[in-house]
């Protein structure tokens, strides 16, 4: 009799123990993301300009409209904070109707048209935003009523929705919060409407965001998101292997994809739009002022070899400064397919068959350094010696803008139409060292008209034709040599469900959305 009691008791005990341990084993709803950066620059959405800034900003804010999660097709832009909108016949007046009951973080109240007006004006003001230039065409923002806001543009803009989407200046912040804290504090303690809010920031280590229960789409499934700053590839890899990290930014090389793919329980996300790798030839530096020399360099470079080197899985072909995935990109341009003989002939014509030396600086960041070392090797074969100084990433960006390099390797992603790239890299106003400088490293000034005409053109077909002409011109004059597209590479534990299908994103990272979650065992 006693034995039976004992047995039952023991079984109950065992059962309870098993249940307890099972629930103890249940995973926390926490995602730890390791990013390739040493620190955030700013999580004020009007100043966040690097990948890691985007990664941290995106989960904390919304905009009037947003890209469909995981897809940068501008045709698929959806409502976000605005439920709907009206456009005037001339396309210059846009009226947005806001959702009701959208709450800001940390008790800063409900979203109203005042906040939208404040945010857009802040984004358009160069004292409070790094993206002010994008909003040059914005005339005024008016509050019609608590949930209605009207934007009036001074001239036609290629894509108004693109301007107001959850990227760069489109994010909406809390007017009350900015006024209370001041901009300085806001830069590390921003208040938005997104599914997550800032909780803890340890400089050079991590940024922790916690769930915002009042999120308008529903209570987020994750309790917490941790962004760890880990510029070291080996640290990231080790941490991921050991399970200390759930999502980790990868290296854009085949070997990385291959070895991480072998780690059990790993999903490799390789997604677009990728960044364009382009070599800009500085025509203000001898001997690159001679078009024959530039053509020689173009023929000496083999895109195939570079893509082989970086890895087939992580690269895509690129023959024009504008990728085909962008509106206006074309492949009908001079290709300069690899031809060593032609390269040597051109050098001879320019009187440089003995070769010459180029003094370059390059950043230690592997996304730039690796391709550049390959290019260095390729150029060495035709007698062009590239002397490379490896410097810090920030110093690199400073120095190339000071016109130091004869050849500038630039890696970038922009809003997916032809206009931003053409304007920033090939318009004479953007030439480096001028007061309006952006990133025109080649000092090219021959397609200003084409660029301006195209941006004013309302018919898409005509617009594309103008853009195509601009691209052909760039390559005919050999001021730039597009190398390839490198896609974004992330490794993710298979128990992290992003909540959407990741095809491409301008956020450049595996973005955390409100419905991202950890799958139970």
């Amino acid at each position: 009799m006693k034995l039976r009691y004992v047995t039952v008791f023991a079984m109950v005990f065992l059962l309870v123990g098993v249940m307890l341990s099972a629930s103890a084993d249940a995973r926390e709803q926490v995602v730890r993301v390791a990013l390739k950066a040493s620190d955030i620059r700013s999580i004020d959405p009007d100043y966040g300009t690097t990948t890691i800034d985007y990664a941290c900003i995106d989960p904390m804010f919304n905009a009037l409209v947003r890209f469909k999660p995981g897809d940068i097709d501008p045709e698929k832009i959806q409502p976000d904070l605005a439920e709907g909108w009206n456009v005037s016949p001339d396309g210059l007046v846009w009226t947005f109707y806001l959702r009701k009951g959208v709450k800001f973080h940390k008790g800063y109240g409900e979203l109203t048209a005042e906040d939208v007006k404040f945010s857009l004006e802040k984004a358009a003001n160069k004292d409070t935003s790094g993206f002010a230039k994008d909003f040059d065409a914005l005339g005024k923002v008016e509050v019609i009523d608590k949930y209605t806001v009207r934007l009036t543009f001074k001239e036609k803009v290629p894509s108004v929705l693109g301007l107001l989407t959850d990227y760069h200046g489109g994010f909406i912040v809390s007017k009350k919060a900015v006024e209370e804290m001041g901009l300085e504090k806001f830069k590390t303690n921003p208040i938005g409407t997104g599914p997550f809010m800032v909780h803890e920031y340890v400089p050079k280590q991590k940024l922790v965001e916690v769930r915002h229960d009042g999120y308008f789409r529903g209570r987020p499934l994750l309790d917490r998101v941790e962004f760890w700053f880990m510029p070291d590839a080996s640290s990231r890899e080790m941490a991921f292997r050991k399970g200390e990290i759930d999502i980790c930014e990868g290296e854009r090389e085949q070997a990385w994809v291959d070895k991480m793919g072998k780690v059990p329980g790993t999903v490799i996300d390789i997604f677009g739009p990728g960044e364009t790798l382009t070599l800009h030839f500085n025509t203000s530096k001898k001997p690159l002022d001679d078009i024959r020399v530039r053509k020689a360099l173009a023929y000496a470079i083999s895109r195939e070899e570079l893509m082989d080197f970086l890895g087939k899985d992580v690269t895509e072909p690129l023959v024009s400064p504008i990728p085909t995935s962008y509106l206006g990109g074309t492949t009908e341009v001079p290709l300069y397919t690899y031809d060593a003989e032609k390269a040597k002939t051109f050098l001879k014509q320019a009187g440089l068959e003995k070769g010459f030396t180029l003094k370059e600086v390059i950043t230690e960041m592997s996304d730039y350094r690796r391709p550049m070392e390959q290019i260095q090797e390729q150029l060495r074969r035709i007698g062009v010696k590239v002397q490379m100084d490896v410097i810090a990433h920030s110093a690199y960006h400073g120095q190339i803008r000071k016109d130091v390099n004869p050849i500038v390797l630039y890696v970038c992603a922009r809003f997916p139409t032809a206009d931003p790239i053409l304007r920033q890299f090939y318009h004479s106003k953007s030439i480096v060292l001028t007061p309006t400088a952006i990133t025109n490293f080649s000092h090219y000034d021959k397609i200003d008209n084409l660029i301006e005409q195209a941006s004013r053109e309302t018919q898409t077909e005509k617009q594309k034709a103008l853009w195509a002409k601009a691209q052909r011109s760039i390559l005919e004059d050999a001021v730039a040599y597009p190398l390839c597209i490198t896609k974004f590479v992330f490794a993710r534990k298979d128990y992290v469900d992003l909540g959407y299908e990741m095809k491409s994103t301008l956020t450049l990272v595996d973005t955390i959305k409100w419905n991202t979650r950890i799958l139970e065992e």
Partner: protein
């Protein structure tokens, strides 16, 4: 006369001392490999072959290949040139400036000594690697700049040790005798002091070469070394660190090379020290 006997004694005991022989043989081997690198290296160390990325060690590639398809063994041979040149040149540089400073401070004493010692204190409070980091960050990469950086960092240390040796020598009877006879300070220094601290200098020099090689490797590991694609053991290890799980040979072999080189110089120094001056400590 005294110095001739002393030098002879050093060499004689050197030949009898096993540690120094092993060390000398190793070092000689490494130095000759470095000198002969252009002829014995099986491949061009900077030629990239896309199809050969990350091959493990094999007969064709004794130490495997790196991420650019370059032969690691060839790069290690060429890397020896960088390490040895930097190691030896920086120590020579620091001796050219440090020894005179140390001798003058030790021999003359007084104001000269104070000035030199204060100067030493300030610069010696920078650990060598940190000082090198600062200088290279300012001046940028390049072989000469590294030699300069490490050389400048070593100068106060050489000066301090030389000063110590000179001080202990100052009270020697033959120095007193020379002074009594009326020999000028300069002559005394050149004829008596320098030859007698020769042994100490030799040991010091060998030790610091070992240190300088490690410092160069450390600086290029941090990313402040010679320009790519020139191979340097430290930067090779750094590149290999990212591939530790898939290509461990890329870190292991250059590290072994640094270790063996430094080890051989330390062996020589140890052997010399056992012979030369028992008062001298590390």
């Amino acid at each position: 006369m005294a110095q001739a006997i002393r030098k002879g004694l050093i060499l004689y005991t050197f030949r009898r001392n096993k540690t120094s022989i092993v060390g000398a043989v190793m070092a000689a081997l490494i130095v000759s490999l470095a000198i002969l690198a252009p002829w014995i290296s099986p491949y061009n160390p900077i030629e990239q072959k896309v199809k050969l990325q990350y091959f493990p060690p094999s007969l064709a590639h004794l130490c495997g290949t790196d991420g650019y398809g370059r032969d690691e063994f060839s790069r290690i041979l060429w890397g020896a040139r960088v390490s040895l040149v930097v190691g030896i040149a920086s120590v020579l540089f620091s001796m050219v400036f440090g020894i005179p400073l140390g001798v003058i401070a030790g021999y003359k004493g007084g104001r000269a000594d104070s000035v030199v010692s204060r100067f030493n204190d300030v610069f010696m409070s920078f650990p060598i690697v940190i000082f090198g980091l600062l200088i290279l960050a300012i001046m940028g990469p390049g072989l000469f700049k590294i030699i300069l950086a490490i050389g400048v960092a070593l100068t106060p240390r050489i000066a301090r040790l030389t000063r110590g040796s000179t001080l202990s020598l100052k009270e020697m009877p033959y120095i007193e005798a020379a002074r009594a006879v009326g020999q000028s300070d300069t002559k005394i220094i050149i004829l008596h002091v320098l030859p007698n601290i020769f042994g100490d200098i030799l040991v010091m020099g060998t030790l610091w070469i070992a240190t300088a090689i490690i410092v160069e490797a450390s600086l290029s590991f941090i990313g402040l070394g010679v320009r790519p694609p020139t191979p340097s053991w430290g930067s090779m290890i750094r590149a290999g660190l990212d591939q530790l799980t898939n290509a461990p040979w890329l870190s292991m072999f250059p590290g072994l090379a640094i270790f063996l080189t430094v080890f051989s110089f330390n062996l020589i120094a140890d052997g010399l020290r056992d012979i030369a001056d028992p008062k001298l400590r590390g």
